[in-house]
């Protein structure tokens, strides 16, 4: 089966071509079947390839399928081919599997949209590019997939381009991604010049080889890896290039689920993990990766606390979870990062699709303040949503618990207490904002507008079915990586050939009891977050309002009863809220957005000023030539 891995990206490409060129002439159903079928076939081939790969002995689990020689010129030789090893196997399963589910979901979600064929052709193109990215056997092919997913993301964010905000968001995503790509492409050039090749296997081989002889300095490795990381930061929405991701929520919700949660944004993590050998040779870069990851994790989580748009909460959550993955990579726990990538794909896709289901039912409303009490109307959505939230919050035995705990544990043992503390605090916030979301949306009194309330309904089968699948995966997904018990941490074992010795967790010198203890701590943290949300949004919703309202009636009773809440409010909630608001409105909007937009504005203004020099007068043109001449003369003499 391994010889047919080229089929995996081919099917979506065919789907794209058919839907792209003939989509308008064939019926909607056919378009849907073609698109889903293409990805479905990919998934089947991916599963079969995965099984074939498992049959090989662990050390031989690298398979390269060379398609053709791309460039063969002088000392430089590059072959286009696909590489299947444990790392890419996991990635193709996630991409094609989650992609397939989301395609099915989209047939329901986008059913009434005019751009139905356009949507599916973009989605298929995206799947193709993403599979190309993860299957590539060299940096350039990976970069092509990298740019391809960026382009599709841009097209899909701006899918409803009649909305100005949507087309602006698309443009922003594209520009910010280009800034990241700038680093990536420089890194590839540097690799090309340093190693004379861009083939993964050869580069990594040469890197681990040559560094022993000291031919290539650590500085070179640091430069390469930092530049690569700039690319990863752009694509995976880390500080400071994350601003495009929340804006990307302008796109259709299944797109947010597929591209901006499950797959594309994780490409950066994949790339860092793929280059783990280079990163291990550059300690400075590792520190930077861990630092940026941790900072992003806590920063984005804190912003998520105060968002009222259901999709924006999830967007910031995604940024925060990606930060976790980088934190894992940065401390050398690549396995944990990839593990979390996988479980995150399940539960975050489920959450996004669930929110899409809600939005669908609400007729496009995304403001949580106008929701509430939806539990009764859409039970399947509700339950799957709860499962996924428990998973992201890190409650055992759901998938997120295992991967997140693994990351925190590695942050503590291979990193330091500070990284752990940040991770734990972010975990607390995660639990809080996720359940805040659940309580505001599904619980409590209905704040739904009457007009909308009449139409509230559970979503059709082709939308809830994917939810159930993903919820199921969110439950069992973590069992491939159960720690402590020997032989149960399958994923660690499976990935160890890729990450060599350093990716595997060998917690030999740490006591089992410590690890168990830390596990308990993370569970407590998660429960605390959920409990706080429960107190604030269910037991005592709208604390401040009620406080003033009932001031005169039962003063003492209420005072006593609510005293605790006031303390909560003053000591915990207010500072967090204000701080988060400050971070969001102050730092996010002014500093980061301002820099990106400001640079664009500056260039544009400069352009307008500079063009005046082009006056149209021949004499001025001749004069500029003379100035050039004099300057060159002065330079030479």
């Amino acid at each position: 089966m391994l010889n047919y891995i080229w089929l995996i990206p081919l099917f979506p490409l065919i789907g794209f071509l058919i839907n792209g060129f003939f989509g308008k002439r064939i019926s909607k159903n056919t378009v849907g079947y073609i698109a889903c079928g293409a990805v479905g076939l990919s998934f089947i081939v991916a599963v079969l390839s995965f099984i074939s790969l498992l049959q090989l002995t662990p050390e031989h689990r690298v398979f390269e399928k060379i398609l053709y020689t791309w460039i063969d010129s002088g000392s430089f030789r590059a072959e286009v081919g696909f590489q299947l090893d444990p790392l890419s196997a996991i990635m193709i399963l996630v991409v094609s599997g989650v992609g397939f589910v989301i395609h099915i979901y989209s047939t329901g979600y986008m059913h009434d949209d005019e751009g139905y064929p356009r949507y599916f052709s973009y989605l298929n193109l995206f799947t193709f590019s993403m599979l190309l990215l993860v299957l590539a056997n060299n940096f350039l092919l990976m970069f092509i997939g990298w740019e391809g997913v960026g382009l599709c993301s841009y097209l899909l964010i701006g899918f409803w381009f009649e909305k100005k905000s949507a087309s602006d968001a698309g443009k922003k995503a594209f520009v910010v991604n280009r800034i990241g790509d700038f680093g990536f492409i420089l890194a590839i050039m540097l690799i090309f010049v340093t190693f004379g090749t861009i083939d993964f296997t050869e580069v990594f081989h040469a890197a681990s080889d040559k560094s022993h002889m000291g031919i290539i300095t650590t500085t070179t490795f640091t430069a390469i890896t930092l530049l690569l990381f700039v690319g990863a930061v752009g694509k995976s929405a880390q500080i400071p290039l994350y601003t495009w991701l929340p804006d990307a929520m302008e796109g259709p919700t299944p797109v947010s689920a597929l591209i901006h949660a499950a797959t594309m944004v994780t490409a950066g993590v994949y790339m860092v993990a793929r280059c783990n050998i280079l990163y291990m040779l550059a300690p400075i870069s590792m520190t930077v990766v861990a630092g940026v990851g941790a900072a992003t994790a806590i920063y984005a989580a804190s912003i998520g606390l105060v968002q009222n748009d259901i999709k924006r909460v999830l967007a910031y959550s995604t940024v925060s979870q990606l930060g976790y993955m980088f934190l894992a990579c940065g401390v050398g726990a690549f396995t944990a990062g990839i593990f979390h990538l996988m479980t995150h794909a399940f539960f975050k896709a489920c959450l996004f699709l669930g929110s899409g289901s809600v939005i669908h039912a609400m007729g496009g409303e995304q403001d949580m303040r106008k929701m509430g009490g939806l539990r009764a109307h859409m039970p399947r959505t509700y339950w799957t949503f709860v499962i996924a939230s428990l998973a992201i919050a890190g409650i055992p035995p759901f998938a997120g618990f295992f991967s997140k705990d693994e990351i925190l544990w590695k942050a503590l043992t291979q990193g330091n207490i500070l990284l752990w503390g940040i991770g734990a605090l972010a975990a607390f916030m995660t639990a809080f904002y996720m359940f805040r979301l659940i309580f505001m949306t599904f619980w409590g009194e209905s704040r739904v507008e009457e007009e909308v309330a009449k139409h509230l309904h559970e979503s059709p089968g082709n939308m809830t079915f994917p939810l159930i699948i993903l919820a199921f995966l969110s439950i069992i997904g973590g069992f491939v990586g159960i720690p402590l018990i020997k032989g149960w941490n399958k994923i660690d074992e499976f990935l160890s050939p890729v990450f060599g010795g350093h990716g595997a967790g060998e917690a030999v010198h740490h006591s089992v009891s410590l690890e168990l203890g830390m596990m308990m701590v993370s569970i407590v943290i998660a429960l605390a977050g959920i409990f706080l949300a429960y107190r604030m949004y269910i037991i005592a919703p709208g604390i401040p309002e009620r406080l003033t309202e009932r001031h005169q009636i039962a003063y003492r009773v209420i005072l006593n009863k609510y005293y605790i809440d006031e303390i909560y409010d003053a000591l915990i909630v207010r500072p967090i809220k204000n701080g988060a608001n400050f971070l969001w409105k102050g730092f996010d909007v002014v500093v980061v957005d301002g820099t990106v937009n400001g640079a664009a504005y500056l260039v544009e203004q400069w352009s307008k000023v500079m063009r005046v020099i082009q006056s149209g007068y021949v004499r001025n043109y001749a004069f500029s030539m003379i100035i050039g001449l004099v300057i060159i003369f002065l330079f030479f003499m």
Binding site: F623, I626, L629, V630, F633, M637
Partner: protein, 169 residues
Amino acid sequence: MELLAFYILGAGAVVTAVMMVIHRNPIVSALNLIFTMFCLAGIFVLLNAHFMAAIQILVYAGAIMVLFIFVIMLLNLRGEDWPPLTWKKLLASFIGILFVGYSLIKIIGIFRGSMLPVATPLPEDFGTTRIVGEKLFTDFLLPFEVTSILLLTAIVGAVMLAKMKIDKG
């Protein structure tokens, strides 16, 4: 004697060149340029370039400049008035002259400072029509032949652009 001739011719060339540039009447400018070319032809003779001196007068002064004068007459051009001087312009030209003058002095310095070849006795037929012709038809045959295409291009183009009626067929 030779030095004297050079200075006279050189001074003549410079003065007429300046006149050409600053005179407001195009016809006078053109005549001045012709005079510059005559002076240069004289200097060519000093440099033993007899053939080139003849060509200079025949082609340059005789053909090209006549074409100029012809066009000036055809378009019935009058002299232009110099635009009124303003402080800005004065300043600009001052800076410009400063720049160009500086560069010129620099260049002159380079010429004077470089170890340039000194005159050596020349073969008797240096610069004669015969020897230049021989060179043209042997060493530089390709460039010489290629000029035919150059001239053809110029002729076709000039006719194309300048012909009166824009016919459609």
